[in-house]
Symmetry: C2
Subunit: 332 residues, 2 copies
């Protein structure tokens, strides 16, 4: 199994209140790079920090890394347009972050991203791929694409109080700017990404399409962003079997209703509960309170660990060790 982290950026993340993935815009630029380095090397190499919220919630990349220390898997980045340099091997699909979806055509290269990703998906030698994501602001762009496609599904948040109405407002503004009605791009999913999405959605859909074309098993690891990527792929004619693997924290989010979304899209859903215990550790208490929830392949990695028979307590122990090494015993 190879985990492909589709990493990118969107200026939409800079809108006040949209994202918890990094405290400040200038730090958010480094979050996907730092996430990738955590999974690959266990610590930052080029990135200037470990993504941990001011009150101690670690990036889900730390969970994915903890899994990888228990059961090895191959790991690579697909760079859909990152805003900062990473020390992790990356397949460069794009060249620039996506723009703010309140402006016209924030992802002008959506078609090229999809095509390149499809060629790569068709060329990779792996029988099984897990496609993960790291893009601050990604649930808002996912919502934009779902609305442009006319999909009814809701989206999750890395914040405990999901700023749904802010996201809907931003998306409505973006649709107005691009002159698009809800569902108006149902037949043109590439245009939906170009006008309301972010670069990772085009790249993920392309990798999926390419890998499925050669019969590989593909699982989208993540929450609502993967619902959006799956919807794009289905409307581009990617038929047949593929899967979504997510965490119990996304599955518990009623705003999302990911079980219904997966059923609608004809996608098998795997939900894995890491068994975090209340009061056990500052790192996991935040997740129990609804912070972060998913990302950087956390749900997919946990599901892979479960398939490989790794007990969740081993993963939690590894996570706490890593947290202590990188952040300290009691948080920042």
């Amino acid at each position: 199994m190879k985990l492909v982290l589709v990493a990118g950026a969107t200026e939409t993340a800079a809108i006040d209140g949209i994202s918890a993935a990094g405290a400040a815009p200038e730090l958010m630029a480094h979050t996907p790079a730092a996430d990738a380095e955590l999974v690959a090397y266990g610590e930052p190499v080029f990135a200037p920090f470990v993504p941990v919220s001011p009150d101690g919630c670690p990036t889900p990349a730390m969970v994915t890394r903890a899994v990888r220390e228990c059961v090895d898997f191959a790991f690579v980045v697909a760079d859909a347009g990152m805003a900062a340099r990473t020390a992790v091997p990356a397949i460069r699909l794009g060249d620039r972050p996506g723009g703010d979806i309140r402006e016209a055509a924030p992802v002008p290269n959506a078609r090229a991203l999809f095509d390149r990703a499809k060629a790569v998906g068709a060329s990779l030698p792996d029988d099984e791929l897990l496609l993960a994501e790291s893009v601050p602001g990604g649930t808002t762009t996912a919502l934009g694409v779902l609305r442009a496609l006319g999909e009814p599904h809701g989206v999750s948040s890395s914040l405990p109080e999901n700023p749904v109405s802010l996201k809907e407002e931003v998306v409505a503004e973006g649709m107005a700017e691009s002159g698009i009605e809800p569902g108006g791009l149902a037949d043109d999913p590439i245009a939906a990404v170009r006008e309301l999405g972010d670069p990772t959605l085009a790249a993920t859909a392309g990798l999926l399409a390419g890998a499925r074309s050669r019969g590989a098993r593909v699982t989208l690891a993540g929450g609502t962003q993967q619902v959006a990527a799956a919807a794009v792929a289905r409307r581009l004619g990617v038929d047949g079997e593929f899967e979504i693997a997510t965490t119990s924290f996304v599955a518990a989010d009623e705003t999302v209703a990911i079980r219904e979304a997966a059923a609608d899209l004809g996608v098998t859903l795997h939900v894995t509960d890491p068994g975090f215990q209340p009061g056990e550790h500052v790192a996991t208490d935040h997740y129990l309170a609804g912070v972060a929830k998913e990302g950087v392949g956390m749900g997919g990695a946990l599901w892979y660990a479960e398939r490989e028979g790794v007990p969740m307590e081993r993963i939690r122990a590894r996570l706490f060790e890593r947290y202590t090494a990188l952040v300290g015993d009691d948080g920042p």
Copy 2:
């Protein structure tokens, strides 16, 4: 074992008569990307062509790929400043090709390249690295660095008639432009790369320094460019054991005298003969005539195959199959 292909570009390659790695300058830009894709995927993905000379001499990447089909090893690119996009996972160390060494400071980021590469070399999890290169024009920049350092060693060529005097002329012009006497940068190897080198030399020396700092086994796979990288590393204080692995075609080149160079630098040298037979195949006859000789880790891959007990005839058979699939039975 992981083979790291340090790939890059130098505008020096565009000087008429310098390089055989690609027929025309606009094609040479794609040669390292195409080389990487051959080794990773067995065929070009983003690259618009297979690097084969007009009269049918294949890139040494095809040999490295043939080895990889016989005995698997991990493979990644270190992008020191490539001129074209590749579909292969790459650690992005640089951002731009090197300039023409006849102008001042063709590698202004030599220090940053070395530092980033050193951090990556120290972070990679592999116990053994083979560092290979692909940079058209690279033997001329290698000569430039050797002269700036005051090393007496000669350099090889991908052309059967090594344009030694042209290379010496280009290097002399570059040294005059930068106001440097032969040996004038003996104590400042980073400056030698900045003024007379190409981006891959800084990256290779950095990867070597970083990987050796954590005790990994490191072999520079290649010919004279690796002699230059080794000289840079030694002068930067990289003591102790490391190796060079090259082909019998480089070892047979009297202009190079690679055995003496390796001995001077205190580096163990491995020479592997792929056992090409005269008249057996158009692909290998060119090598017997002194074309190409080495590159893209060919000598290192052959040495690895030998260590793993893979018979050379199996590699030749694979090479001929790949040549037929990519080029045709009798060449282009």
